[in-house]
Each structure stands twice: as C-alpha cells, then as structure tokens.
C-alpha cells in the first residue's frame, strides 16, 4: 500500500530526530503567515509613525488614557468574537452595555447591596444574550434579527427603568461602585486591567478548552460538528449568553467610570465592537481569528482616534478613516483566504 511518510515525527507522537526543529519551523511559519502577525506589525508601525508626528502620543499618561478609552470596546469584543466565531453576530452588545449599567445603578440608587446589584446586572446581560441564542438556534432565526430586536428592547428598557432620567447617585456604596471603573491598580486604570484580563481569559478559553475548540469547529463546519455529536445548539446559546454577560460587565464598569447610568452609554458601540473584531482578523464567516487580534483591532481604532485629536485633524473625519480601515481589513482577509486556498 502507498505510504505517505513525509515527516520525522515518531510514532509516540513526539517529534523525532530533527522533528523538533521542523515543528518549531512549522509553528513559526504559521504565525508569520497569520493575520494576527500582520496586523500586529501594522499596529507597531502605526504606533511609531504617530509618535514621530505627534510626540505627545508616546507619553505614558496619554497611552494609558488611550488604552482606557478602547478598553470597553476590546473587552466587549471578546464576547462578540465568541459569537462571530460560531458564524453568528450580536448587534445587541452596545444596548446591553447601557441597560446593564442603568439597571445596576438604579438598583444601587434604590439601596440594594453592591454585590447583589452587580449580580443582577450581569445576569440581565447573560439572560438577554441567552434569549437571542435560543431564537437563533431553536427558532432558526438569522442572528441579525433577534439581536437587532434585543438592541431595541434593551435600549427602551433602560429608558423605561429610569423614565429617561440618568442615574447619578448610587446609594450607600457609591464610592466602592465608582472605584470599580475609576480606580487604578499599580498606576494602571482598572478598565485596562479588566480588558487585559478578559483577553487573557478569552484566549485561554478559546485555545485551550474543549468548549473553545468546539466554537472554532462550529464556525468551520456546523454540519460536521452535529454529525460527530457536538451539541451545536447549546454551544451557540452559550456564545450568545457569554457575549451578553461580557457586554453587561463592560456596561457596569462604564457606568462606574462615568458615574452615570444612562441609556446612551454604549449606544452605537456595537458597531465599534464589531469593527474591532473584524479589524482584529475574526472572520465574519466564522471559525477563524483570535481575541488577541480583537485587542489589536480595538487598539488600532483607539490609537487612530487619539492621533487625529493630537494632530488637530477634524474629529468628523474619524468615522471615514475607521470605515476605510474596516473595509481594508476585510479585503485583506479575503485576499489571505484566497491565497491560502490557492496554495
């Protein structure tokens, strides 16, 4: 029989003589050809260029301010990435950020204990996400529809709770609540630490756990997953619930950071979140990308916005620039996929 022995790996699964080098070469080659590597290099160049034209950009205080400004987008992008990796999309994250923040703030304002209010706020996001997931999987709705509906519901629910009046006082534990989003640990703003934690947890979850692998697998071939016994519906529901939960967490921190519970918090942010995910290399078709890329995607948007301010460029142009970057990023991804399939 024909035998395709072309490598040097031994039968025990460990690289054999010479195999270690080839294994590392292969992994390194994979990384160098990856979208994440390309976008990280692009970000590095952007970082250097902006600093040359606007030296104030490199100041630590400015960099921390920029990091804090995109931290909520990047962290929420981790949850959005889970959904997009399964081949879906969640348009409700921005409104859920606003709603969960309002709900938590309103409960605190009415005297509820901090931990209970936080728990209810977080659960509200998870339940809203789960509902979207159930409609996508069990009612076979295109993801756009239930999440668009949830966007509207969450926004209106936030307005209804407060009757349109923003929450500005947070009860007896106000100081503790506000310190969650406004505080620092070792000089680093809490939201930045939160963002880094979310990216780390998201990376470990997606790369190292069976559930994370299943999310990639579903994005790659949902039918194959179902045939091999993977609970596709449950995993998709989990992804939407996790996205809602993370959006709620970001929304609560944003409310804390701004000391303001308002329905407009996070409104429209779903577009920035999706943009960060796409620029970061997560394929809208599902199955490809990483949360490290989402961090870089959010950072690119944050840095460009800051640079335009520092260089005195009209803020009205920001949307145009970000728009072109999104289109360019997707175009780049298409070219990369085309090259891969050509090989």
């Amino acid at each position: 029989m024909s035998n395709e022995k072309v490598n040097s790996q031994s039968s025990d699964g460990q690289p054999g003589q010479g195999g270690l080098n080839s294994w590392y070469q292969f992994t390194l080659s994979q990384f160098l050809h990856s979208y994440e590597f390309g976008i990280t290099v692009a970000f590095g160049l952007l970082f250097l260029l902006i600093g040359i034209f606007a030296p104030r950009f490199w100041r630590i205080s400015n960099l921390l301010r920029v990091a804090r400004s995109f931290s909520f987008i990047a962290a929420t992008g981790v949850g959005e990435a889970l959904v997009i990796l399964t081949g879906g999309i969640d348009l409700s994250v921005g409104s859920l950020m606003g709603f969960s923040g309002i709900l938590t703030g309103w409960l605190l304002h009415n005297g509820m204990s901090l931990w209970l209010a936080l728990t209810i706020g977080l659960l509200s996001g998870a339940v809203a996400g789960l509902l979207s997931g159930i409609l996508v999987t069990k009612a076979n709705m295109p993801p756009l529809i239930p999440t668009l509906g949830m966007l509207s519901i969450a926004y209106s629910a936030g307005l209804f709770i407060t009757q349109g009046i923003p929450v500005t006082s947070f009860g007896p534990q106000e100081d503790l609540f506000i310190s969650l989003g406004s505080g620092f640990i070792a000089g680093i703003p809490n939201p930045v630490i939160y963002m880094l934690l979310m990216v780390l947890v998201g990376w470990v979850f997606l790369r190292k756990t069976p559930l994370g692998h299943a999310i990639y697998a579903i994005g790659g071939n949902e039918e194959a997953c179902a045939l091999t016994g993977i609970s596709v519906d449950r995993i998709k529901m989990f992804a939407y619930a996790a996205s809602g939960f993370i959006a709620a967490m970001s929304g609560i921190l944003l409310t804390s950071r701004l000391s303001l519970g308002d329905a407009s918090n996070g409104r429209g942010d779903e577009l920035d979140v999706i943009a960060a995910v796409v620029i970061g290399g997560v394929s809208l078709a599902g199955g490809r990308g990483s949360v490290a890329g989402v961090l870089v995607g959010a950072a690119i948007m944050g840095v460009i916005r800051n640079a335009m301010v520092l260089m005195g460029i009209s803020s009205f142009l920001q949307g145009i620039v970000i728009g072109f970057i999104i289109i360019f990023a997707v175009l780049l991804d298409r070219v990369r996929l085309w090259l891969t399939s050509s090989e």
Binding site: M1, S2, N3, E4, K5, V6, N7, Q9, S11, D12, G13, S22, W23, F26, T27, Q30, K208, T209, P210, H213, A214, Y216, A217, G219, G220, N221, E223, A224, C225, L227, T228, G229, I230, G287, R288, T340, S341, E343
Partner: protein, 268 residues
C-alpha cells in the same frame, strides 16, 4: 423464518448460506418509502466479516438510502437489521456508532479551519485536569490512528484546508478509524480525487480489511473497486438485483446488472 433470496429467480444456494453465517451485517426485507415513492423495495443485503463490499448502482438506485438506514439517519418502513446475528434497532447515528458502524461522507464532513489532530478527534478531544484540551494526548492518539493506517502527515497542527484531496480523505478515514469501528461505510471515497490519491485511499481500505474491518464502498467508478472488493452488490431502482463475487465476474457483467438488472451468469 424463511431465508430471503438475493434476487428473484435464484434459488437459495450454499454461497448464500455461507454469506449469512459469516455476516456481520444482515439487512432483511428492507423497504423504504417517501410518501408515494418507494426508494427501497424489499432489499436483502449482507456484509461479511472482514470483506470489502462494493455497493453500486445508477443514480437514485437506493445506495445512499440503504446506507442511511444502516447508520440510523433514516428509519425503515419495513424490514429488519441483524448485527452479528442479533436483531438490532438503529434509530439514530449514535445507535450505529455504539454498534461499531461508522460512515465517511462524500463531503468528508471536515472542519477546514482546524488542524489534522483536531479533526481526527473532532468533539472527543482528550482533556487535561478536566478543563483543558490535552494537545499532547490528542496528537499521540492521532499518531497512533495514523500509524495504524501506515500514514504520516507533516504536522498534526496543519490546517485541513491546506491539505490535498487525498490527505483530506485520509483525515476523514482516520476520524472514522479512531472510533475503532467493525464496519466502515465509505461514500464515494474517490470522488474528486486524482488517480494517485484514489489508489492511496483504496489501498487504505485494503489495509483496514486486513485488520478485520468490514468495509462497504459506495461508488460509481466500477473500474476502481474491481481491484479491491471481495464482492459487489448491485442496486437498481430500489431493488437489489444481484450480489457477485468480484473475482468471478467482469466489469461488463456488473454493468449489465446495473443497466438491465439481469446477468448472463448466475449471481450468488
């Protein structure tokens, strides 16, 4: 219970009795209707221990329907399946899997975005500390499956999308083999493959037969399976019109069965 005939007009003979005695799978009187359409009409089908059986027929002959019944994707309208001589109920693919019956679909059902090892053990990734995927164990297990097949792939991390058609087929076979099946159904395994890759896949089937796996190859390509099959069963318009021993017939004989449902020489 009266024993069935493979096709009308052929008396029960000793070869048929041998078939039943050595059968790992026996499907008796299988009928399947979809509304008013009869897809399978009283089909009797036998797969022996450690043989490669070619299942051939024109389009809409009922090949895929018969195999979907065997793997539990379809229920029967009438008929009984026996596995190792015992009557069994196969209501879904899990039941077939539990019995040791696996199928490799024509579209291979691979996740192109995942690596080789992840595809081979799709959904059954070994765990470390209960929470994490044990990559080393996953690769070890994949290696042992590939070793059993006499195959090695450059890197088990390599994305399946970047593999050739033959190697993709190899990954699909490896996944089926990882379940340690007794019966393996290969649906058009050489479709869209180059002649070299087809040879490779068919030699893989022979190797598995030597290891005791009973294999059914569904195909349109008669010339390819003549070199590897022990017997060939022919379906025509939902009826099994003959089962022949490959070494005793020519391609023209089988072609005649496929076209007219009759054959000059006697079938089993």
């Amino acid at each position: 219970m009266p024993l069935p005939l493979f096709f009308k007009g052929v008396a029960l003979n000793s070869k048929y009795q041998d078939s039943i005695n050595s059968a790992i799978v026996r499907m008796e009187g299988i009928t399947k209707t979809f509304g008013g359409l009869t897809a399978l009409d009283n089909v009797d089908f036998v797969l022996r221990e450690s043989e490669i059986l070619g299942l051939v027929g024109d389009n809409a002959a009922g090949k895929s329907t018969l195999m979907k019944i065997l793997i539990g994707a379809y229920s029967t309208t009438k008929g009984q399946i026996y596995y190792r001589g015992e009557p069994v109920q196969i209501d879904n693919p899990h039941d077939a899997h539990d019995l040791g019956i696996e199928i490799i679909y024509q579209n291979l059902a691979l996740c192109d975005n995942l690596g080789v090892a992840e595809n081979v053990l799709l959904g059954r990734w070994p765990r470390k500390w209960g929470l994490f995927v044990d990559s080393a164990a996953m690769k070890n297990k994949t290696h042992s499956v590939l070793d059993r097949m006499g195959i090695s792939i450059q890197s088990l991390d390599q994305e399946v999308a970047t593999l050739s058609g033959g190697k993709r087929q190899t990954v699909a076979v490896a996944r089926a083999i990882s379940f340690d099946p007794d019966v393996l159904i290969m649906d058009e395994p050489t479709a869209n493959l180059s002649p070299e890759a087809s040879d490779h896949v068919l030699s893989l089937a022979q190797s598995l037969r030597e290891q005791g796996v009973s294999i059914i190859i569904i195909t349109h390509r008669l010339s390819e399976i003549f070199g590897v099959t022990d017997r060939i069963s022919v379906l025509r318009r939902g009826k099994l019109v003959g089962t022949v021993t490959t070494s005793e017939v020519t391609e023209d004989d089988v072609l005649e069965l496929i076209i007219s449902g009759k054959r000059r020489r006697k079938t089993e």
